[in-house]
Symmetry: C2
Subunit: 314 residues, 2 copies
């Protein structure tokens, strides 16, 4: 049996192996993903993002538990920014969601970013597809929402929850502006801290300025205390309400199609570049270009045009 | 006279116009950039990055003034993360470096990010090249260092200064780990605040763990108060020391070549994708692929392989 067949059979170890192969960019992984693709499109994809220290992992832990109570199988993909200094994933040494470690209905996978946006976004979609194909009802994608790359990654989720904390101060408002657009639900976590009500009010006020079209989803601001489980039930109800809205409005089908189109174009961008760059490295053209750039007998733009025109690739 | 010829003549308005054309992705801009390329490679490129609220703009203002005192011409490229909500650049409404507005030796340009990493990195390099070709002695690239994209952008600078502030707390340490590697100089700004010494000590301790090779540059941690100009003279000395180190060690030449190679490969990635994606949209192949993805008669990976094999592009 191929890895993909074993994944479709629900073999957790085969899924873990395939995800490692995806991470390592094995060519064989692409063949397995082809087999899995017709079996995807069923999982509900939930994106969780927010700044470092917002308590996302604790909150995800509570959300996983709540889905498990409903007998739903849950996959979690946690995107860890890699430190180029230590070589390790930043969250890697934390003990993540320990209480779900022995639950066969929960599958947790950390992906370390390697400073490659396009690649990261694609790897995440591939891993979500594996979890989807292996029958997970819900797949949660957790990212540290500090840059455009993370925003990009959660943009392929069906429902995106943006997690904030009180008292991050005005300095962090700049980040907020960038993620206001992507949230379907906003959560002020650590709501027992001073300033939670104020942060929630400010967020609500910013959201009200958006002037949504009639019939559009209106994101709400909820308050939670991840550590004590406060507000989780209401948050789950909001997720369910958003999922129902997506289904009823036809937006879910649109999101699924957009996600597949993005997976295609991300893959195309990457494969095209890898193919052509590999070819000009192989046939010596790249070295000629580097020499030309050094002595200024060519320039980067002309060199690109020449590569495109010469079809100096297989 | 072409725009490029006017830029080489030092025409500030022509340079501003060309930068707008680069921002708008005008094809004509590429022709101008070709003309300018042989005249680049002379400016000293200084990258300034750090989290929102670290006081980067104020510090850059002081650094510009210090370079001006030495009669050096200074270009500043400020990368503004765009809010997809307002459509505006986040820093756009701030009054930036007002006191240099009438100084012909200072050229300031804001670039709004549009959620496209490869494109942003390339646009920044293009704009730096325009400033370089027009005779700026120093070009400062200022980014909000919150994500991989910004790290990527400052990685093409000759000297990179990472700006921190005291008291951002342990939560922000995760970000620090990612930028430890890219800093040639570390600055604890707002050094009059509580905890400045502690933050500086912690940074120094983390840097000492790096075990650099013999003869390698050892990044130092400086303290400044941007608002009052405290520590700026020492910071300028450190920039000068690093520049001398780069020249003496041959690393500067290497950095210049790496930067040109990156401009080539970024341009290649973008042009390849634009060309092929444009072609399959034009000839109807893309719509067929979307239909196939929807009814699951194809998958994204097979579709990419077929596009590559069919050379369904001009």
């Amino acid at each position: 049996m191929t890895l993909a067949e074993r994944v479709l059979d629900g073999d957790v170890r085969a899924a873990a192996r395939l995800m490692r192969d995806i991470d390592d960019r094995f060519k064989s992984a692409v063949e397995e993903l082809k087999t899995l693709y017709p079996h995807t499109g069923n999982a509900y994809i939930l994106g969780i993002t927010g700044p470092p220290g917002a308590g996302k992992s604790t909150l995800v832990d509570q959300i996983v538990a709540a889905f498990r109570e409903k007998q739903l199988r849950v996959g979690v993909v946690a995107i860890d920014p890699t430190s180029p200094f230590t070589g390790g994933a930043i969250l890697g040494d934390r003990i993540r969601m320990n209480r779900h470690a022995d639950d066969p209905g929960v599958f947790i996978r950390s992906l370390a970013t390697r400073g490659c946006l396009g690649g990261m976004s694609r790897s995440t979609m591939d891993v979500v597809n594996v979890m989807d194909a292996m029958g997970m009802d819900v797949v949660i994608v957790e990212t540290v929402g500090v840059g455009q790359d993370e925003v990009d990654i959660v943009s392929t989720a069906h429902t995106t929850a943006v997690i904030m904390v009180p008292g991050l101060g005005d300095d962090i408002q700049a980040i907020k502006a960038g993620i206001l657009e992507i949230g379907d639900v906003f959560v002020v976590n650590k709501a027992d801290r001073d300033g939670a009500d104020r942060t929630a009010r400010e967020l609500s006020a910013m959201l009200e300025m958006k002037h949504p079209e009639p019939g559009a989803w209106l994101p709400r601001v909820l308050q939670t205390e991840g550590c004590r489980g406060v507000g989780i039930a209401e948050l789950m109800e909001e997720f369910e309400a958003h999922r129902k809205y997506l289904k009823a409005s036809g937006a879910l089908q649109h999101l699924i199609e957009e996600r597949n189109a993005k997976l295609f174009s991300d893959t195309l961008r990457e494969e095209l570049f890898d193919t052509v760059f590999g070819a000009i490295k192989e046939n010596g053209r790249y070295q000629e270009i580097l020499d030309g750039l050094r002595d200024r007998s060519t320039d980067p733009y002309t060199a690109v045009e020449e590569v495109l025109a010469a079809r100096a690739f297989p």
